[in-house]
């Protein structure tokens, strides 16, 4: 019997329709012509409802992250690569080697298929570069007006090698605090595109997968105490999380924190503090003082850590305050972020 003819998806003029999420032929076509074609790997090709994969020995790490960034495309990236990097980084911050990703899409009816393809291609590229394949997924479509283009949830699994014990609760008085590069790039890149906030800027989002940097750091210093990526809430909020978890205080020096001139200027202009602006390709590391110089060298030796710096130290403090010696010569609290500095940043 002759196979029925199916018109190929129109990636130039087509748009997402309700049928693309209804479980019928249209959905099967979207899955095959877009998702499988782009993410292409053995587990996915089987087209089961789940992926079966081999896992090396060690402690399993699972992390999940939803992405609702607006706008979908921004200088230096888009929601696609961001959704890959975000989850890989969450896995990597346990000191783990990320292995596989699952991706779940909530599409809004009317989203141009060209945009969707651009996003999926970017995701696939990010996953291939990182060496972490997307092995299973799901697609749902909501009526026009009930979503905002596309929301992507990714889940990642990875394995922590033996001897590595990274946790937000391991910071000890005397430990040294390092950051892997400049603070606030992602948030300012997004803001530069926002409605009503248009100003010309050359700032690109720093979105990047950090697991390779983490591996290089662990090679040099296996006993890193804490790792965390300062995403929403920025450096300030993440340091507060770590201080609270570990029951310690942290003192940072304002003049040692790397911030790009353009980010500083944009923040000044908008009344924001770069310490609270989101990053998507940076990490904070805390280690014993004896390991600090070695760790700094390892970070600077990696392309994603070239501008790494020692920014502070852990102190004893039952109130778990994060304090900062200002460049001006005073001292102040660096508190948790209050309210929402800017919504829908990742």
């Amino acid at each position: 019997m002759k196979r029925g003819f199916t018109r190929a998806l129109d990636f130039r003029h087509g748009q997402v329709e309700m049928t693309h999420g209804s479980g019928g032929r249209a959905m099967a076509q979207l899955v095959e012509e877009l998702f499988v074609a782009c993410f292409d790997n053995e587990a996915l090709r089987r087209l089961d409802d789940q992926a079966q994969v081999e896992v090396p020995p060690g402690r399993l790490v699972i992390a999940t992250d939803s992405h609702v960034v607006s706008p979908l495309f921004f200088p230096g990236g888009d929601i696609g690569c961001l959704s890959v990097h975000g989850t890989i980084n969450d896995v990597a911050m346990a000191g783990a080697r990320p292995l596989y990703l699952a991706a779940s899409f909530i599409l809004e009816e009317g989203l141009p298929l060209s945009d969707l393809r651009r996003i999926v291609v970017s995701m696939a590229e990010a996953s291939r570069t990182a060496g972490v394949p997307v092995v299973t997924g799901d697609t749902k479509v909501v009526e026009r007006g009930n979503g905002d283009g596309v929301f992507i949830t990714t889940t990642g699994v990875g394995v922590v090698p033996d001897g590595v014990n990274v946790s937000g609760s391991r910071a000890r008085p005397g430990d040294v605090v390092l950051v892997s590069g400049t603070m606030g790039d992602h948030g300012v890149a997004i803001m530069s595109l926002r409605e009503n906030l248009s100003f010309g800027t050359t700032i690109q989002s720093d979105t990047a997968a950090l697991h390779d940097l983490v591996a290089a750091m662990l090679d040099s210093v296996p006993d890193i105490h804490c790792l965390r990526d300062p995403t929403r809430g920025g450096l300030a909020t993440t340091l507060n999380e770590l201080a609270r978890q570990s029951g310690v205080g942290i003192v940072i020096g304002e003049s040692s924190i790397p911030v790009r001139g353009a980010v500083n200027s944009a923040c000044e202009f908008l009344g924001l503090d770069p310490l609270y602006v989101a990053n998507e390709g940076k990490l904070i590391a805390i280690c014993a003082p004896a390991d600090a110089e070695g760790l700094l060298a390892a970070m600077r030796g990696h392309p994603l850590g070239r501008e790494a710096a020692i920014v502070g130290e852990v102190i004893e403090d039952e109130h778990a305050f994060v304090q900062m010696d200002t460049a001006f010569g005073g001292r102040r609290v660096v508190d948790w972020l209050t309210g929402d500095q800017l919504p829908r940043i990742c």
Binding site: E268, T326, F328, G330, R332, D335
Partner: protein
Amino acid sequence: MKYIDEFRDGKLAQSLGGAIARTANANRRYRFMEFCGGHTHAIARYGVTDLLPPNVRMIHGPGCPVCVLPIGRIDMAIEIARRPQVILATYGDTLRVPASGRLSLLKAKAQGADVRMVYSTQDAVRLAEQHPEREVVMFAIGFETTTPPTALAIKEAEAKGLDNFFVFCNHVLTPSAISHILESPEVRDIGTVPIDGFVGPAHVSTIIGSRPYEFFAEEYQKPVVIAGFEPLDVMQAILMLVRQVNDGRCEVENEFTRAVSREGNLKAQSLVAEVFELRREFEWRGLGAVPYSALRLKDKYAAYDAERHYGVADRQVADHKACECGAILRGVKQPADCKLFGTACTPENPLGSCMVSSEGACAAHYTYGRFRDIARKTAAGGAAT
């Protein structure tokens, strides 16, 4: 950052701090009120107090536009925002100010009111153009600095023939607030708030000039130094105030000469005079009803006046019983003196207005300086045992 970093230089700050310590007479205390929230914020954020000798103390004034807005005015804004045809445009800080019935504009938004944050009044005019079927109301707040942009927006709406743009006017005036503080019994008679001088407003003064302060300096015999919002500006102004006190002078001096002249911005002043007129009185949180301290739209521009258009009536709502915002805004108390500070009232769940805006005395102290309270308490406890 050029033209900014120069005013935040740590080395200069150290030497200015040294100069203040040398100039200040060790046998007396100096208490200066910084009127503006911008100064309060700069002092807390850069840790200026760490660089001052112990006998020079700063008292936070009421110059934070969000903080002085009474609950009743926020209630009125929520009432306007809840009308289905209305888009309420507002500056970000106002969103979280607590109103009656555990509401705020942010909560009203979550319940369905169309409340949008804008960076300028021009954005609100643009919203009105983009949504001709809706009514866009600008929730206009602030001192003399933000008043000219509101006037400009009304003129722009008039020029564009927009009949769906309105202003809910809450603009207030700095000089009347300063006189009110100086007239208060705590300052005049009881002497519980001894104020030796004022750090005068920065941005407000770019509009009104330095001349309006000459009256207080003369009448109340208090020196005024107008200062910019950068930390070195504040320190330089403090040094100038200390010198005036030492010399027994009560003059208006201008540290912020790079932006402020004696006459101010005449163009902005005439624009404001064209659109606005004085209200007979206006309620300030903490200060109560202050005569001739706020503006409303002139009859000529009544068509743009949200209060008249929606017929919302002014109302008085009492603050939380234990809230000390009033006393803090008058300089009578410090944030840590309030029972609610840091317990029931935090930046996440503000009860009082001083905890809302980053320029508010409580929020600035909570966010940047509260570790000092602990040090103080520990020191006090240690001394007792």
